[in-house]
């Protein structure tokens, strides 16, 4: 129900013009919901077909969320080409390191397929949040404006990913007994994330902000070199004061 509502809202607000991948992700969530019911109704809830359909579609959604994060980073930072060039390499490297960490953690976990999947999913969710936080840290450091709807979408994504990390950690500790709670928390946290997105998209989107007027290339070189030299001298004076 909520997923349908947010999907309709996203199209009504024209979100596909600004964040096409996120809009596709919302439509994909709806499609996956329908798809998951097919083996459940045909073969039953506890069948291997249901199991692999669920986790196969979950992997697709996870990859789609990764693409959404990349789109959000590009949308927020692309208007500032200097900052974007500086941070995109860092974000890519961070993503590679975190994904490799997730693979190692999954490999080191129990040989049971359930533990393996939980560990892998937890690692990939940490990757998603790690990239999001790093991009937001760059925005904070350079005082870049992030539109309110975008902050809402980012918050929903981060909230869902972090709850999954916690949920999977608890579930891998007490696999069988925790299962009903794991399902409840998983579904509940996604509904909460969707609710955050609905709130973010409730009002019409603000007009696209104009790309900022960039400075001449030489200004940065002069200002930054001056700043660094004087900062070094400032720190030297402070150290002298402490001797």
């Amino acid at each position: 129900m909520l997923e349908t509502w947010v999907c309709i809202l996203a199209f009504r607000r024209g979100l596909f013009r600004r964040l096409p991948i996120f809009t596709i992700y919302l439509a994909l969530v709806l499609l996956v919901e329908v798809l998951r019911w097919v083996p459940t109704l045909l073969v039953g809830l506890n069948s291997p077909a249901t199991f692999w359909t669920y986790w196969g579609t979950q992997a697709i959604l996870l990859l789609a969320r990764g693409a959404v994060i990349a789109e959000l980073c590009y949308h927020v930072l692309n208007s500032y080409p200097g900052v974007w060039r500086l941070c995109r390499g860092f974000l890519f490297l961070l993503a590679v390191i975190l994904v490799m960490g997730a693979a190692v953690a999954a490999h080191a976990s129990s040989s049971k397929i359930a533990y393996l999947i939980l560990a892998a999913e937890r690692g990939l969710e940490i990757t998603i949040v790690g990239i999001l936080i790093s991009a937001l840290a760059f925005c904070r450091h350079y005082d870049l404006h992030v539109e309110t709807p975008i902050t809402g979408l980012a918050l929903g994504l981060a909230f869902y990913s972090l709850v999954q990390v916690t949920n999977n950690s608890i579930h891998s500790q007490w696999l069988g007994g925790f299962r009903p709670w794991w399902d409840f928390i998983r579904i509940g946290s996604f509904e909460a994330a969707v609710l955050i997105w609905i709130i973010a998209l409730w009002k019409p989107l603000p007009a696209p902000s104009r790309a900022p007027e960039l400075l001449e290339p030489g200004v940065y070189t002069v200002v930054s070199s001056e700043m660094n030299v004087r900062l070094r001298e400032l720190n030297a004076r402070l150290e002298e004061m402490l001797r």
Partner: protein, 188 residues
């Protein structure tokens, strides 16, 4: 296994708080700059360091010696406390001057078509160093009442020089001619 559980739960909580903090409203020190659509360029340069001549009088040892022979011990103590408070406010003002200049440097970087990783890392490192050293100096002032006049004067002059050089650089930009950059090497 329990320890890894606690680790991931604590990590998730920490990361969520970080996300909320990053998305939340700007710091109060920055709000006054962001309130205006285009903050006055003058508000981004150092202000407090221009008042050092008045501070020089407050740091004068001659005043202390003069008053030590004329005031009762209690009143002398009050006077010293007040002087320390004034000095502390001035040091806080210097930190605000640094924050303004740092903010301007970051905005210039944000609006530049290309920025250098080395310079940005260097400024980040030097900024962190400044914050740590400044806080230690402030702590010593509060606990020991120490106020090395010469070093404080040098510190103030450095900030004033940085501010005027940046002012000159921005004016040169407007005039269409840039001063030559200073070469730096980064070694943390």
């Amino acid at each position: 296994m329990i320890s890894s559980l606690f680790f991931f739960v604590a990590l998730s909580l920490f990361l969520f708080i970080t996300v909320v903090w990053l998305l939340s409203k700007p710091l109060s020190a920055q709000r006054s700059l962001q309130r205006a659509d285009k903050p006055e360029i003058e508000s981004l340069f150092a202000l407090h360091c221009r008042h050092f001549p008045q501070m020089r009088q407050a740091l004068s040892q001659a005043d202390t010696e003069f008053l030590a022979h004329r005031l009762p011990a209690g009143e002398l103590k009050l006077w010293r406390g007040e002087r320390r408070r004034v000095l502390r406010r001035f040091l806080t003002g210097l930190a605000e001057d640094y924050a303004r200049l740092d903010y301007m440097a970051r905005k210039v970087a944000a609006l530049s078509p290309a920025i250098e990783r080395k310079r940005e890392l260097e400024r980040l490192w030097l900024g962190l160093e400044f914050r740590v050293l400044y806080r230690i100096v402030l702590l010593r002032l509060v606990t020991e009442g120490f106020a090395p006049r010469v070093q404080l004067e040098q510190l103030t002059q450095l900030l004033a020089t940085l501010s005027s050089r940046l002012e000159a650089a921005m004016e040169s930009v407007n005039a269409g001619s840039l001063p030559p950059p200073i070469k730096t090497t980064f070694s943390p």
